[in-house]
């Protein structure tokens, strides 16, 4: 089956009717991960990695294809599917797709999946950088300069901000008022930062 055939199946009424029956995000994710179309697309992308770009482009094209913008996006399940597949096969493109998804209104499953990818990436970072007793840290994303920061809190010391360079070492950028970053700004900006996390 060609890539075009696979994409057509994923954007079909049949797929949307199957995937829009769930009452919880966990069930939706499980069904997506087990779906034969998703399996087929992942297999294809493993054999033809250059097609990841085509899937990503298709994702962007579909995002704009909401002819009745007052309602939930008609391709929401398909968009979620592409996000999921890219997340499994090409994290760099996935994070870029997350960025677009979080900026697009009227998404349901795709938006929740985008948030899930963001949160999963955060947890990965947290787990990677474990600190000793008496210390804690938060991952902080700055909407102002679109950098990713790690905030350390050592007992009895001033907060120190460090810019992370993923996969290499970290660089001091000096203290800032990180708490000015509110949730609304986070929603707007998170995906830029996550893109950097992918390196």
């Amino acid at each position: 089956m060609t890539l075009s055939d696979l994409l057509e199946q994923i954007e079909s009424v049949h797929f949307a009717a199957q995937m829009n029956i769930f009452s919880g995000f966990r069930s939706f994710r499980r069904a997506l991960a087990d779906h034969e179309y998703v399996d087929a697309l992942m297999d294809h992308l493993k054999r033809h990695p250059h097609d990841n770009e085509r899937v990503f482009q298709r994702f962007l094209d579909l995002l704009d294809k909401n002819e009745r913008p007052e309602f939930l996006h008609p391709y929401d399940p398909a968009l979620a599917c592409y996000l999921w597949v890219l997340g499994e096969t090409n994290p760099r493109l996935a994070y870029s797709a997350v960025e677009h998804a979080l900026r697009t209104p009227r998404l349901w499953w795709a938006r929740r999946l985008a948030q899930y990818i963001v949160e999963k990436a955060q947890k990965t970072v947290s787990q990677t950088i474990a600190l000793g007793p008496g210390t804690s840290f938060s991952v902080v994303f700055s909407p102002r300069d679109q950098s990713t920061f790690l905030r350390y809190r050592f007992a009895g010391l001033q907060p120190l901000r460090k810019q992370l360079s993923f996969g290499t070492s970290s660089t001091d950028v000096g203290p800032r008022e990180e708490d000015k970053v509110d949730n609304a700004s986070f929603r707007e900006s998170a995906t830029y930062q996550i893109g950097r996390m992918a390196g």
């Binding site: 009424v13 049949h14 949307a16 009717a17 199957q18 829009n20 029956i21 769930f22 009452s23 919880g24 995000f25 966990r26 069930s27 499980r30 069904a31 087990d34 009745r68 007052e70 309602f71 939930l72 008609p74 979080l102 209104p105 009227r106 349901w108 985008a114 948030q115 963001v118 949160e119 955060q122 947890k123 947290s126 600190l131 804690s136 840290f137 938060s138 991952v139 902080v140 994303f141 949730n183 986070f186 929603r187 998170a190």
Partner: protein, 169 residues
């Protein structure tokens, strides 16, 4: 370790109408956008082609789910993951399949043993030792169906547990 979570749901917005369990516990809810009724109609027709015995009861552009249908009068999307807490806070108890009556609730579970769906019993037919149970069932955000309790797509799971808040006569 404190991790700042991103992407707070729109359910946190101030226009959310709170829903409480009988105990007073505020039930968390999500807020999907409304759906195009024509699109829902097309998908409902597609589902009917898979399972001819299901009866489409209604389509609603207001996006509630199965939990919202039963526990929030079709006014909210409540994640199925909260279902045990809702049973507890609303005073439900588990019963056997043989004790099921109209108005009771069936909990479906998927192959991983996770709660995946709930449906409201609307009819119990007895033919000798056989009991056919019909339910009112909301599939995801789109359509309400009336169907025999086993007549759901595989991913919605299988009827696994039965609950009631009836007071025994």
């Amino acid at each position: 370790v404190s991790v700042l979570l991103l992407g707070a749901s729109d359910a946190d917005s101030s226009d959310e109408r709170p829903i409480y369990a009988r105990s007073g516990w505020r039930i968390p809810q999500e807020k999907p956008d409304g759906m195009d009724i024509e699109l829902m109609r097309i998908r409902a027709k597609e589902r009917k082609s898979w399972r001819g015995r299901i009866i489409l009861r209604s389509l609603s552009p207001y996006p509630y789910n199965c939990v919202g249908m039963i526990f929030a009068s079709r006014r909210a999307w409540i994640e199925i993951d909260y279902i045990y807490r809702i049973f507890l806070e609303d005073g439900y108890r588990q019963i056997s399949r043989d004790d099921v009556k109209q108005g009771d609730v069936i909990l479906y579970k998927n192959y991983a043993g996770e709660p995946s769906h709930v449906a409201l019993v609307v009819m119990v037919e007895k033919f000798g030792r056989t009991r056919n149970i019909q339910v009112l069932s909301k599939w995801g955000p789109e359509a309400e169906y009336i169907h025999f309790m086993e007549d759901v797509p595989e991913w919605l799971g299988k009827p696994a547990e039965f609950y009631t808040e009836r007071i025994d006569q």
